[in-house]
Amino acid sequence: MIEATALTKRYASTVAVDGLSFTVPNGRVTGFLGPNGAGKSTTMRLIVGLDAPSSGRVTVNGRAYHDRRFPLREVGALLEAKAIHPSRTARNHLRWLAQSNGINPKRVDEVLEQVGISAVARKRTGTFSLGMSQRLGIAAALLGDPEVLLLDEPVNGLDPEGIQWVRRLLRSLASEGRTVFVSSHLMSEMALTADHLIVIGKGRLIADASVEEVIAQASANHVKVVSPQATALRSLIAAAGADVEPDGDDTLIVTGLECRDVGIIAAAGEITLYELSRQEASLEEAFMEMTRDSVEYLADPDAAGSAA
């Protein structure tokens, strides 16, 4: 279990993490979601004690990370896959990690096997692709058979087969009762992997809820109506108190009513309908909606247009 309480990290001119409080329980995959620059990696570094918080605190299984002398036996982390000395072999990288925490050297070959890079175990990591480095990083996180796993963007650089493998791995680790905390800037990825989401933007907590709740919270669902008498229908729906926006000549997007209600209103007004359908907000839309005000690097659509 990971517990953050009013966790704050200030740098000279910016606040990377701003009063974050959350709990990551064991036994399920908790997704840590936010746009790039939202403070996810900083939070991860604070959890494993690489950065010291400006204020607030974070504990892992009730203790500060740095109170442990052999932390890898309890907490495994993948922070940056490429942060490995390039002239050391994969196997030697895992060997020193194991030695530093008194971990049985047999684990080195076990985790290499588990992540599927045994064949390149004696190759220098400088020659590795991002996907292979990512697998080595996951192997390092699994080395101490830890109860808590922190993975920062673990699917970066993996091929589709690798991405599926990571999803299955995270699920099985959680089903063994471990705490699995995995960050991503891709909502769609998290929807497939996580049970629960912690969403942050500009260092602040935006949502802490199940995947379904996050979508519902982020944006209401819409009803799409297509009718040759769109203008007449629009005033009828508006009169009923719902939000309605035209989308082209004969299409309306209705918010705040169900299909059934729109159908009844149309029938009462003797209006012909060509289409009446419920539009589910996609995960990406929900995410964009939620983090719109907290995106660090926002592309200027006008600037993009003029450049094109």
């Binding site: 279990m1 959350f22 709990t23 329980p25 064991n26 036994g27 399920r28 570094r45 494993v48 004690g49 690489l50 950065d51 010291a52 299984n61 990370y65 740095h66 109170d67 442990r68 002398r69 052999f70 932390p71 890898l72 036996r73 309890e74 982390a77 922070l79 940056e80 490429k82 942060a83 490995i84 000395h85 390039p86 002239s87 050391r88 072999t89 030697n92 990288h93 060997r95 020193w96 990690l97 030695q99 530093s100 925490n101 008194g102 390092a140 109860e147 959680a174 089903s175 063994e176 009762g177 471990r178 705490t179 629960h196 912690i198 802490d208 809820a209 199940s210």
Partner: protein, 284 residues
């Protein structure tokens, strides 16, 4: 499902409490890890072989040159001739290889980002620094011993071919101390390199600081008006430390041998102490 809900599956709860080992057991573990790190990059072996080659090769070359011009040496030069120190002259160049390797022990971890894995595995950062110094000091001492004994015996064999001056025997007063002293000098210099690498974190900056301290600063101090130049210069690391691998007193103004070596060690200790303070304060 509330976020405060915990232990949805209880199986892992039983194995969450991992007891801490004793500090000594942890230190031994970190020593082994640092040993593996040092020898699992190729540059270590090459740098150390180059160090040995420089000390032995340059020592032999110096001695051969001295024998070749033995007839032209003036009596004063012959009287003060220190055959032991002379055969170990390669240390003046080899110290750069050892110092740079010491810098890299720390700075390469920052350059590659691996320092985060290191401090993630061992949050007790000063223990990591201590282990790095211990491992590197032992390795450079052993390499220094091999190189200095080889340079001494080969050098004396060459010097012995001239009848103009005496070559040294290992049993002569101060000779064994000077040969072992060469290894001690390199070992402490390696520690200074680690200290500078820890303080500055950047390889280029730390190497510049090392070269500046050893080679540039003495030149600058030399330009100061007398007696400041000699008063200050004897406290500079190279000037204070190099008496330990000589048998003759180098100049009347120099510090005595062990005082000088203590001053030299103080540079390494000071750099490591500052490095330790910064390690604890800075984010990794």
């Amino acid at each position: 499902m509330s976020s405060a809900e915990t232990a949805l599956v209880p199986t892992a709860a039983a194995r969450t409490a991992v007891p801490n080992p004793t500090p000594m057991r942890q230190f031994v573990a970190v020593l082994r890890a640092e040993w593996t790190k040092l020898w699992s990059v190729r540059s270590t072996l090459w740098s150390l072989l180059v160090t040995i080659a420089i000390i032995v090769g340059l020592g032999a070359l110096f001695c051969a040159a001295r024998v070749a011009r033995a007839d032209r040496l003036d009596p004063g030069e012959l009287r003060n001739f220190d055959p032991t120190g002379f055969s170990l002259n390669g240390i003046f160049l080899a110290q750069l290889a050892v110092g740079v390797l010491g810098v890299l022990v720390m700075s390469s971890e920052y350059a590659t980002g691996q320092i985060r894995a290191t401090f993630g595995a061992t949050p007790q950062r000063n223990l990591v620094l201590a282990a790095k110094v211990a491992v590197f000091a032992v390795v450079t001492f052993a390499v220094g011993l091999v190189a200095c004994f080889a340079a001494f015996f080969i050098g004396q064999a060459i010097l012995g071919r001239s009848t103009k001056f005496h070559s040294a025997f290992i049993g002569d007063p101060g000779v064994l101390r000077a040969v072992i002293g060469g290894a001690m000098y390199l070992s402490v210099l390696g520690a200074l390199g680690i200290g500078l690498g820890t303080i500055l974190r950047r390889t280029a900056g730390a190497i510049a600081a090392l070269v500046g301290l050893l080679l540039i600063l003495p030149i600058l101090v030399n330009f100061l008006p007398s007696p400041w130049n000699t008063d200050i210069s004897k406290y500079l690391p190279l000037q204070a430390g190099n008496a330990v691998f000589h048998t003759a007193k180098l100049a009347s103004t120099d510090l005595s041998l062990w005082v000088g070596f203590a001053v030299f060690c103080a540079y390494a200790v000071a750099s490591l102490a500052l490095g330790a303070v910064l390690l604890a304060r800075r984010d990794a």
